[in-house]
């Protein structure tokens, strides 16, 4: 076997070592001056953004979840006007469990707001949002924007709950919260959600504080009561 000998190999090797040192130096500086947070759906992750159309009672408007965030927020800041939390539910208007639990989500959306004088809640405002998907392949799960509107507003003419019940017959009152169009399940897929309903509580800075997926024994409203800092009445405002 012929052995090749290259007199100049050391120049390239020396340079490679120098460049590797520069590369590692740069990565170290970046690592020391920033600490990335993974975008994902586990607690402590940054919530993936959701953009699209949402129905707010008067029509389908542009929606961008990131507009709810205050990136300067810290856990010690529980100012009721500046630090608004987000609770998002992924549902399907034809999912029986979503249909049956709609009342508690609707009532909670009115409870966790400091502007509701009838509510004893003394914490920051929690923005409730619903993302309505169509779980294709299941019997009776054929949804539409009309059905989402009927589910939200409790109006007649559309069938919810596997197509068996008129949407107006669900328990609870009409919702006052935005319902995002996720009929193509793009948001559910992006968030890695396999079933409905799934709930996420998001901090004002966009970090997921709680998910029903990781806390199956805890109700979403119990999680809000436990996690969202409330103002001590003695401290006043």
């Amino acid at each position: 076997m012929k052995i090749k000998y290259d007199d100049n190999a050391d120049a390239r090797m020396d340079t490679a070592l120098t460049v590797i040192a520069i590369f590692i130096g740069a990565i170290m500086v970046i690592s020391l001056t920033s600490s990335p947070i993974i975008t994902g759906t586990k607690e402590g992750d940054r919530a993936p953004n959701i953009t699209g159309k949402a129905y707010n009672g008067s029509g389908w408007q542009d929606f961008d979840l990131s507009t709810y965030y205050d990136f300067d927020w810290s856990l010690g800041d529980n100012n009721t006007t500046d630090s608004q939390w987000v609770m998002i539910e992924f549902l399907d208007t034809d999912c029986p469990y979503c249909f049956n639990s709609a009342q508690e989500y609707q009532e909670a959306s009115q409870y966790f707001t400091p502007t509701n004088l009838e509510s004893p809640w003394n914490g920051p405002h929690v923005n409730f949002i619903a993302s309505a998907a169509e779980l294709t392949g299941l019997k009776g799960h054929d949804s539409s924007r009309d059905e989402i509107e009927a589910f939200r507003d409790k109006t007649t003419g559309e069938s919810c709950n596997s197509g068996n019940v008129d949407c107006s017959e669900r328990d609870g009152g009409p919702f006052q919260i935005p319902f995002i169009d996720d009929l193509d399940k793009s948001h559910m897929t992006k968030w890695g959600i396999g079933g409905t309903p799934t709930y996420f509580l998001i901090q004002p800075d966009g970090i997921i504080a709680w998910s029903s997926f990781d806390n199956q024994d805890e109700k979403f409203y119990d999680a809000i009561n436990r996690i969202v800092p409330q103002i001590n009445p003695q401290d006043g405002e």
Binding site: D6, N8, A11, R12, D14, T15, A16, T18, V19, I20, I22, F23, A26, I27, V29, I30, T33, S34, S35, P36, I37, I38, T39, R46, P48, N49, Y69, F71, D205, G206, I207
Partner: protein, 199 residues
């Protein structure tokens, strides 16, 4: 304008790139005439091409590193160059749908750092041993890598068009790549003409 806003930082970072471009351009000879006493390597075209390309690659490396830093900072929740205008690196680098190489899932910022490290290695090794046997193959490698970069640039420009935002840091890194294509092409031409070794 703040003293250290994102545009000012970028402007400082691309100064070596601009100098490098002037050195490898036809203006390089007249521009470097006054400096050639202090920097003798600038007297020759080979020296100007190598030093100019090295300046461009160094600048590209720093700008690419900065895009990774921005990417991490956005992840922390802070905005570095957020703007409601057309120019916004936060909106581009922070967009999960476009900020990774399709199928590979590797952040474009990492790709930039790795490719500019490669350019630095190619240029620094040639600069160290300009008359070595492997110089022509290194120049070819640099030219091929920078030319392949056009595919990435076209894709990222398409992504920016889709996002309706332009990232100034990414654009600076793309311009650096385009300038290096010209630099490697000039070096290859000089080598093939036989003038390389005479210098």
């Amino acid at each position: 304008m703040e003293l250290f806003d994102s545009n000012t930082i970028l402007a400082v970072m691309v100064i070596p790139m601009a100098l490098g471009f002037l050195l490898i351009s036809p203006m390089g000879e007249s521009m470097s005439a006054s400096m050639s006493d202090k920097f003798p390597s600038l007297k020759t075209l080979r020296g100007r091409l190598l030093i100019g390309s090295l300046l461009i690659a160094s600048s590209g490396f720093i700008v690419s590193s900065m895009t990774l830093w921005i990417s991490n900072t956005i992840s922390e929740g802070a905005g570095f160059c957020a703007a409601d205008s057309f120019f916004s690196c936060d909106d581009v680098i922070g967009n999960d749908d476009y900020n990774k190489v399709p199928m590979l899932g590797l952040s474009w910022a990492w790709v930039g750092i790795i490719i500019y490290s490669f350019f630095l290695w190619v240029l620094m090794s040639v600069n160290k041993e300009p008359n070595a046997e492997w110089v022509r193959s290194n120049i070819k490698l640099g030219f091929m890598a920078s030319t392949t970069g056009i595919l990435a640039i076209v894709w990222l420009m398409y992504a920016e068009y889709q996002m309706e935002h332009l990232c100034p840091y990414c654009t600076a890194a793309h311009i650096g790549n385009l300038l290096l294509i010209y630099g490697f092409w000039q070096m290859g031409k000089l080598y093939d003409s036989g003038e390389w070794h005479k210098q």
